[in-house]
Symmetry: C2
Subunit: 364 residues, 2 copies
């Protein structure tokens, strides 16, 4: 999923309502900070919007309202993609979004959300907190007066919904598939047509036959859009977003003015959301997957290795090109590539080997 296009449709809107709600807030003690969190999500969008609301509520609750964080859905204060600028300028104190939305500022931002063939959610966490990622991010975002934190993850995204199972790369050629961003660039490299559609436009486009295939996020979110009513072949694993990190960005002036205690508290609330959102996606994807199979007759298919190999090679090239975008992108790419080499050696022996062995031994 790339949520950019989908969110553009919600860009106009209910700013007046939000302002009215703010005015109706109870009287506030003098040392209380009322903070605006703009987001790139529709109000309470499952997992992402609810996660943003949850971290905002957590900061408010932890401080007993001393820092009260009001969440604004995409378009309520600013359009989704202007969230970064709003925080950069101080029009809002915080955003919740995904860093690849700001790739127009620098391609380097992609690496703090997701890139094709990149980090899983856990690997991203490791790189940012213990592999030098946060320091690079701080340097990058400081140029724009922003301080960023990881704050949620969708986990591995599915490969998408297709009319017929993909059995060879030729099946992908000429296919009109909804997939924006770097994943879409990879599709173009292998001869498919990458179509950029807003989330709400996908289902009608599938009905009308305007597109042949689509990806979105995973079972929980995809089920809500009802793709299973039209397409029955659900391919895995996705190559394009193997663990999409969400983030909170904070206006640097506001951040620097906070006490050390409040800085620690906000960082802790973001890390907590990272933990909980991943847990929620994994739990709800498990349930939704069983429903899709049992109730809707959805069939799962793994991409054939030779197809995935060609997609993977194209992905590596596309991401390497991103690393040539500018000076800091090159440093971020090099850090990413070095760390991926190291951490993947451990992923292979731990989660990967264990899950393979458990499945082979007891079928679970």
């Amino acid at each position: 999923m790339d949520r950019r296009s989908f969110l553009k449709t919600t860009a106009a809107g209910s700013a007046a309502t939000a302002a009215a709600a703010a005015l109706a807030a109870p009287a506030i003690a003098q040392d209380t900070k009322v903070v605006k969190m703009v987001t790139t999500w529709p109000k309470n969008f499952p997992g992402l919007g609810t996660g943003a609301q949850r971290v905002a509520d957590r900061i408010t609750a932890c401080t007993d309202g001393r820092i009260t964080v009001n969440v604004f859905a995409a378009g309520e204060l600013v359009p989704a993609l202007e969230s970064f600028d709003a925080v950069s300028s101080g029009a809002a104190e915080m955003y919740h979004g995904a860093e690849y939305y700001w790739q127009g500022k620098s391609p380097a931002f992609n690496f703090f959300a997701a890139v094709p063939l990149g980090f899983t959610g856990q690997e991203l966490e490791s790189w940012v907190h213990f592999g030098g990622g946060q320091e690079l991010w701080d340097e990058l975002a400081a140029e724009f007066g922003v301080k960023g934190f990881l704050c949620g993850n969708t986990g591995v995204q599915m490969g998408g919904w297709f009319r017929e199972p993909i059995t060879a790369l030729d099946d992908m050629k000429g296919l009109k598939m909804r997939m924006p961003g770097l994943g879409g660039e990879v599709l173009r490299q292998i001869g498919a047509s990458s179509i950029n559609l807003a989330g709400g436009e996908i289902f009608p486009a599938l009905q009308a036959g305007t597109i042949d295939a689509t990806e979105w996020v995973g079972p929980w979110n995809d089920q809500a859009f009802g793709f299973q009513k039209i397409l029955k072949n659900y391919m895995y694993p996705g190559f394009h977003e193997p663990g999409s990190g969400l983030s909170v960005g904070i206006n640097k002036g506001f951040w620097d003015g906070l006490s050390a205690a409040d800085q620690t508290l906000i960082a802790a609330c973001c890390s907590a959301e990272n933990d909980l959102m991943m847990a929620e996606f994994n739990a709800r994807n498990g349930t939704a997957l069983q429903q899709l199979i049992n109730d809707d007759g959805v069939q799962l298919h793994e991409f054939p290795p030779e197809v995935w190999k060609q997609i993977a090679d194209a992905s590596e090239q596309v991401v390497s090109d991103v690393g040539n975008g500018d000076e800091i992108s090159e440093r971020v790419y090099n850090s990413y590539a070095t760390f991926r080499q190291s951490v993947s050696g451990w992923s292979r022996l731990s989660d990967q080997a264990y899950l393979n062995a458990r499945q082979a031994a007891i079928g679970i």
Copy 2:
């Protein structure tokens, strides 16, 4: 690793030193709570002890010292395995440990840390927060006047160090291997000798030939003990602790007396530590693994599928027997087994399939 035995050796000790340090603390404002966190770890034991210290420091920092958490290593106030009783009685307000240490109170506690063939770290998080686990844990721990939170995870543990690679189940029979707890029970079922040794006793026992093989945690922690100097064959994946959850337990009376704000803050600090400790283990295991291979000539071997299958079958039986331990253990086991079925369906399509495909395609 089961840390029980290893920690017994540190049970005596420096309580006097700790008490003196507490007395020497600066004058404290009236509404400041000074809280004792007893732990099952040696002071600053990598990953586990440092994680306990980090979450304590985070709570202290977030509250600007209003809740000051002082950490006591195993044996400083009470022996490691008396941490639960100390919190239950109110002698300490909190512990940091692993729930399987309290299996003598009820076998059900095992499921909130790790069981053979059980949850990965991410699956455990999902079950506890979004699969009914926390509610069962609350019911279980409330009987003892304790409220528990997940607070850290080691990730998948390695299968252990051996003189020769394991190529058949016969190689395990009669083997004297250091592995305590439920994993040790599984070893006995398949004809190996399970030896319970404290951490510091393992290296000398290997040198003396008292044991043939050992497990501990993973590359980062194992390297520190130097097993690579004696044994060169490092088997994976471990079956016994596929994602060992650590936890904070809080005296129920103390917890109930906290404001809603402070309750939320402490819960957030624990979830944050869950996020960060997993990230740290994954990062440092990746680095240590490369060093073990490149600098020490350690050879990695995967357990042959038929060996793992027999170990897995024995594990399923041992864990099922744990579920027969008492009434609540049966309910916890049933919840665990149902959720594992659901979440593993998703683990298979996401992390497992993605990591397999990435490795097959680009060797990383």
